[in-house]
Symmetry: C2
Subunit: 595 residues, 2 copies
């Protein structure tokens, strides 16, 4: 069960106890003076949703073929499906503000059931939001329909795909697997690895996100360097639309018109519901070899990566942290004891006198058969060392592997202390990359200085590399400006996204559009590009029942320049809630309410 | 200057003189008894086109910004733009039958000129067919508009992109180049290699096809194994549509909605005119190492390729010929002399007694830096040899490289002797590939036996390999059935394509759809997939001025089941032409008419 008020499993929190340096470092960096949690989530029972707006014709129709347990209008279910996991989503829901809930949550168990649900939704003009793991952080699953019919607002259904989670078949010769779209990352990899195979797609959200969600958002994972983004792994799929089902052909390649698979990947539920997909898989690697290196600065590490690409000796994974994020990484580490601690201190001293004054950590991974890994690792590390990579050994790789899916939990911890924390990612070609990085850090630091109390944190890592460029993944945080939290949040989002776009980077490399990125879509794909996509949308979903208010900029919001920002009363309402409940910890609140 | 009646340069023919075994082998295989050419092309002056149907409003508008030499309604220009290079195209044009000509040929020299041309075409309801090199073999450039307005049929413009052939810029850091869409293969590679770079896209049509054409048809080249299909090399592009210009962003990857690049690639001129593209390039390889091997049969070679994929030791290029095509290859070789000839005879004997009774040639290429090529070649050839690859040395690789772009000329030579010769290609996942190959050969051989004089040739090679499968490229030939040539041609096309589809292969791997493949589009991408594409088409080109009658099946033709087959009088008219001119050679005819 996922938290309604934060990231991940309700029984898990960020393991901060074994990282004694972390909290003091965060407090110093973001100027947090208190030790008290000040903005914990409200109790579950404080939240009262508006009554469900049920379309009886629709409900009676789906009751004909769905079981009782596949249909829910319970407040708990509706609440959990009201938001994704963006900072804005969490900010509101923690305050008990639910902007709009789905009226019904359905849990289909087969492709045919999805076809029938969509058929009736189309017939009775009911909105449907496909819901995978609900981890989207750009507003992709939030109900946003504003259509008002003769009978009032339309009924909104959240279509939770969790029951469609099976590995249907494996074709070992062709190295493909047919998988249902609702399969969560861990289940999917487990099912495959039981038979000696792997998909190899590990986004940060891996534990709680689904294949269908990955496809709908053009996701990238930690091993995309080796296996490609999700669209590169896709062979064929089925998608149910209000006017029919698209089935593409299982073929290694084709030239039969534009690639329909690629029209569906990234469509974020506005064109249809992906029910299953045939994916490229690979044999579970014989060897996994992860290593850490320290570079004297960001530029040197980028040079090293580029030479690996040039020479075509590429690790399966490269993750390269800039100076800011390296500081965070240093403080995320458990402290060394005894001899280890002395060695570490010596190391620090040596590095500081030899020009590693702005140290940057790179973790590289090599996977495959033993011999190949040996050859490639040998050649690649020669290149890294040429660019002054200082080996940190295999330990750091292991530390990183262990903690890699825990980082999203840290946000919940920090938000309790009244901190705004967000991420923004982009990609740029190599000739623009360093400039995008530099400008972004500069602009954000300027903004920190001129807003709030003047402090703030920004760090970045290269999370995926390509021949032509790489993905830059920024994390930033500042103290919340009380009463203006959303203006603050969108202020930062606007600044960082504008900086990406102005300097030639892309709007988003793997977080997709939702509604939070929609204002920049015209800059990204041009007005005529939007026209092309709207042509598809109108042809497949003429009543706009599927995930309305996403991907395309909403004109009214664009005109006002306030997309996503609610009227002042919403923020004020939130403020009043805070006052009621000071002093409690988020964990207590949460246990009280859910347990 | 290209031949109007056949393949390639007007001054080039297939070099048959140095291949003394070829013609006897062809004659035997297809049962050609005569040595006389019997179906040469008509003389140029025998062809009289219908008068150009000029839209004066449009013509006067484009005269405002185009120079005199950029506008032509000459018969020679119109004739050259009336057809692509499919067997059907050549069959008709050789008989002097021109089904429909463009009325005007325009030669734009800039993106802005294309924008203006399309603007006026949209305004005055004039059809536009983008024309790259004109090498399409599925009817992609043939005028097919059937719309009749109040003022009669619409004026049809062929938009010849040849003047837009510049390499605009290179970004060495990002390994990308911006290139105009009209650049022919050799010009483009020359411009790049002068600066130390390569695109590495070598379709069979390389010498006469353009970047824009490759993109519009999702082309694949001989080195696609290493560098990907053309869509994999594409970073961004500009496409002019009747309702605006699409400009995509130069970024290594993105998740900002569905990938617009991929919506444009494969659109075959029905959505817009591609004017320039940013392409991934790579450094000119230090080493090019091509080698030939002989496998005892087709299955063994496929096993070997699959193990290379499994182990991830992959050549840059694999071309693997089945038994039928290996026979052709043996006969394409110039004979060995002296010692070489004795060795070759011994070799044949040894192979036949050791189980190479159905020998199949594989050419593999390794490109890159010297060290890497050495390592990969070493590992890959170990795998090949494990599967009984018998080395033919590097000579065969060179022979093949030398002749690789000459094969299309052979068709013209053979057609002079009254032979139908065509190609069909597909792709299938590995688990289906051998069955697709076997069924296709069986079905076609059955058809040979039961039609015409019972003889015929079919051979196949694997031209591109992927992790999940490969492309099968068939070449087949049979004597023309006089008076029923088109029924015969479409009979074979229908049989072979139905066989592909029935056995799970794709409609086309790299030849695209045009009109000849359009009847199978619904089986390939589903009815709803077609609906999606029509949505884009209607949004971007509401008057259907761009390359009408392509990609989508034409309902009337589907109903009649006679797509592409003309009324009997057309064939009869063709027959009458033949009678008039027996005895001349095509080369003479051609020189007479063009020279």
């Amino acid at each position: 069960m996922m938290k309604w008020w934060g990231w991940g499993d309700i029984n898990k929190t960020f393991p901060i106890e074994d990282k004694p340096n972390l909290w003091p470092w965060i407090k110093k960096t973001i100027s947090i003076s208190e030790n008290n949690k000040i903005t914990e989530p409200v109790k579950r029972e404080e939240i009262i949703l508006s009554p469900a707006n049920i379309n009886d014709d629709f409900l009676n129709s789906v009751k004909q073929f769905l079981k009782v347990e596949q249909i829910s209008s319970s407040e708990d279910d509706r609440l959990l499906h009201s938001y994704g996991k963006s900072y804005a989503d969490l900010f509101y829901v923690r305050k008990g503000v639910v902007k709009k809930s789905p009226d019904i949550v359905l849990y289909p168990s087969s492709h045919d059931e999805v076809e029938n649900i969509i058929k009736y939704a189309h017939q009775f003009n009911v909105c449907v939001i496909p819901f995978g793991g609900g981890t989207n952080i750009v507003g992709g699953v939030d109900p946003r329909d504003q259509t008002v019919t003769e009978k009032g607002p339309r009924c909104v259904v959240s279509l939770d795909m969790r029951n469609m989670n099976k590995l249907i078949s494996i074709d070992p010769q062709s190295q493909t697997a047919v998988i249902q779209a609702g399969a969560l990352g861990p289940k999917l990899e487990k099912d495959l690895s039981d038979k000696g195979w792997a998909l190899g797609h590990f986004p940060d959200s891996f534990e709680y996100s689904t294949l269908g969600g990955w496809l709908a958002t053009r996701s990238a994972g930690m091993q995309s360097d080796a296996y490609g983004k999700i669209e590169d792994m896709l062979v064929s799929l089925k998608m149910v639309t209000p006017t029919g089902t698209i089935v593409t052909r299982t073929t290694p390649a084709s030239s039969a018109g534009p690639d329909i698979n690629r029209l569906i990947v990234g469509s974020e539920g506005i064109l249809g519901v992906i029910t299953e997909a045939t994916m490229r898989i690979h044999k579970s690697p014989e060897v996994k070899d992860y290593r850490g290196y320290l570079f004297p600065n960001f530029e040197k590490g980028v040079e090293a990566i580029r030479e690996c690409i040039d020479k075509n000796w590429l690790p399966s994974m490269i993750r390269f942290q800039d100076e800011g994020e390296t500081q965070l990484a240093f403080n995320l580490k458990s402290p060394k004891k005894g001899i280890e601690s002395i060695v570490q201190k010596q190391l620090k001293r040596i590095l500081s006198v030899t020009g590693y004054s702005r140290p940057c950590i790179m973790v590289v991974g090599f996977e495959g058969d033993a011999k190949q890994v040996q050859i490639i690792a040998n050649e690649a590390t020669k290149i890294l060392k040429k660019h002054r990579a200082f080996s940190l050994g295999k330990g750091i790789g292991k530390t990183w592997s262990k903690d890699k899916f825990n980082v999203p939990y840290l946000r919940d911890y920090i938000m309790d202390f009244g901190v705004m924390v967000d991420v923004a990612e982009t990609a740029a070609v190599w000739s623009k990359l360093l400039n995008v990085h530099k400008k972004t850090i500069e602009e954000m630091n300027k903004y920190f200085k001129s807003h709030g109390d003047g402090s703030g944190y920004i760090g970045c890592h290269i999370s995926h590399t390509y021949k032509t460029g790489a993905c830059l993944y920024f994390t930033y945080a500042a103290k919340q400006i009380v009463g203006k939290e959303m203006e603050q949040y969108y202020g930062y989002k606007k600044l960082i996204t504008d900086t990406f776009m102005k300097n030639g980077a892309t709007l988003t490399h793997h977080h997709a559009v939702g509604y939070e990125h929609s204002p920049w879509m015209e800059s990204e794909i041009s007005q005529t590009g939007i026209k092309a996509l709207k042509g598809v949308k109108n042809a497949l979903d003429p009543k706009n029942i599927l995930n309305p208010g996403k991907v395309f900029p909403v004109e009214e919001e664009m005109r006002l320049g306030v997309f996503g920002i609610d009227a002042p009363e919403v923020v004020n309402q939130s403020k009043s809630r805070i006052k009621k409940r000071s002093g409690q910890t988020s964990r207590n609140l949460h246990e009280d309410s859910i347990g």
